[in-house]
Amino acid sequence: MEPGRAVADLELFLADRGDDLLRTAVLLTGSKEAGEDLLQAALERLLGRWHTIEGDPEGYLRRTLYHLAADRWRQQSAWRRQLRLLRPGLGDAADPFAEVEVRDSLVRLLLQLPPRQRAVIVARYWEQLSEAESARILGCSVGTVKSAAARGLRRLRELSESHRPQDAAERVPAREQTT
């Protein structure tokens, strides 16, 4: 492989499609840093097949992102511990940081879903892929995509309802409310 040529081609490709791919990676992993790591790992896989992929490499790269994300979830329980730490704050209207937390609360709640459901939600509602396209990219059946999406949304609804600020206010201990 000619290093200069390969890197230049890849730079051109990333200039066009990189931001979208990185955003998907960030949503799959839950943070910018982890998303960059994931995209870099997928790019390395792509370089290994640079001469065998004909045409647009985006499809290969996108599939690799999802597969690597699933691998990492399976293999790195430390990541799961990290994800658990990223639970949304309950918020306080007067606190600007809490407002930010509430603003992207659904994304943060997404981190609490199991890997398959999370990947399906990202594919369906971020990438706007059809059920068949999602199934192809995730390497599973359309039925699996349907059920994972339904369960994922149901769970997100439950989580968001249990974490609404007014709910939080209602959960303030009685002793504090009377003071």
Binding site: V26, L27, Q40, Y125
Partner: protein
């Protein structure tokens, strides 16, 4: 309701990723990392090939032994002392004569394709050559061997060799009595057998070389002595665990290409030993009548006795 939630989710996702852009140099970073990984892989492959070449002449010796080998210079960095020292001590203890002399060791040695193994006076002579990373043997050799079952118990040993299609190639029984070693070899491919007796050599160290296996006949020798002498070289380190047959075995390896050893974490007895492309699987059996019968060699009726081969 789900549509509202999906819209809200999509809008949250857009906000969450609004300021995310691919950093400059990500392609170059990926390329450099990819190249480093490729280089590492190439080095690993080259190291394996070198080991395969070194193992080109494997010899499993009887009492006379086959290869002398000098201890390697002790240039290894200090191993993580406690864990390694503790494990090695337990392994050496498990393999001490007092602990293994009452067990039958049954080994299945699996060879790379193309290896030939020939019974000679004084042991077994192995031969393999490597071309382009593939081990090849002498074409059409009657001594092509895929695996050997090796039984050993208190000075008696029996090697049963089988070819690539599972055919029985030969048996070699080695026994020690009154300072002499007797080898009886039955060759199934041409229905012959021969026997030879030699004066037993004294115990000798198997040394620390990575490319030869040297087993001596007699009590307290065999695989336990070989492994203990290897571990005594001081070049071995505990490098982690590997699951084999459902056992989370402790993995021990040398830093100069010596054999890799997997030991049972409960008994510290070896489960597998790997040297280059050769795999050696261990079983430790009680000396029941059935197991002891495996160590006996009976010449089948109709086989013709021939003189032992002349040493080259």
């Amino acid at each position: 309701m789900n549509i509202e939630l999906a819209d809200q989710l999509r809008s949250d996702m857009e906000r969450f990723t609004r300021d995310i852009y691919v950093p400059r140099g990500l392609a170059l970073r990926a390329y450099r990392h990819y190249q480093r990984r490729r280089t590492t892989l190439r080095v690993a492959v080259a190291a394996w090939t070198a080991t395969a070449l070194a193992v080109g002449a494997v010899a499993i010796a009887g009492a006379a032994g086959a290869f002398g080998s000098a201890p390697a210079p002790g240039s290894a960095p200090a191993p993580p002392a406690q864990t390694t020292a503790y494990v090695l001590k337990r392994v050496e203890s498990a393999l001490a004569p007092a602990n293994v002399d009452n067990l039958i060791s049954l080994n299945r040695l699996v060879f790379p394709p193309g290896l030939t193994l020939e019974p000679v006076v004084g042991g077994l002579s192995g031969d393999a050559t490597t071309r382009g990373g593939t081990t090849i043997g002498r074409e059409g050799s009657p001594w092509s061997v895929a695996y050997v079952l090796h039984w050993a118990y208190q000075g008696a040993q029996k090697y049963s060799a089988y070819g690539p299609s599972g055919q029985h190639v030969f048996d070699m029984r080695v026994s020690v009595a009154k300072g002499s070693v007797t080898e009886t070899v039955v060759i199934y491919t041409d229905r012959t057998w021969w026997t030879a007796t030699k004066t037993a050599a004294g115990p000798r160290s198997a040394g620390c070389a990575a490319n030869s296996i040297q087993l001596s006949a007699g009590p307290g020798n065999g695989w336990p002595a070989f492994i203990r002498s290897q571990l005594a070289c001081g070049a071995y380190t505990v490098v982690g665990h590997q699951v084999i047959n459902g056992i989370d075995a402790i993995k021990i390896t040398g830093d100069r290409g010596q054999p890799t050893l997997l030991v049972n974490p409960a008994t510290y007895l070896p489960i597998q030993l790997t040297i280059g492309p050769l795999r050696n699987y261990f079983q430790w059996l009680p000396p029941t009548s059935a197991h002891l019968a495996e160590l006996k060699e009976a010449v089948p009726t109709g086989f013709r006795q021939v003189p032992p081969p002349t040493p080259n």
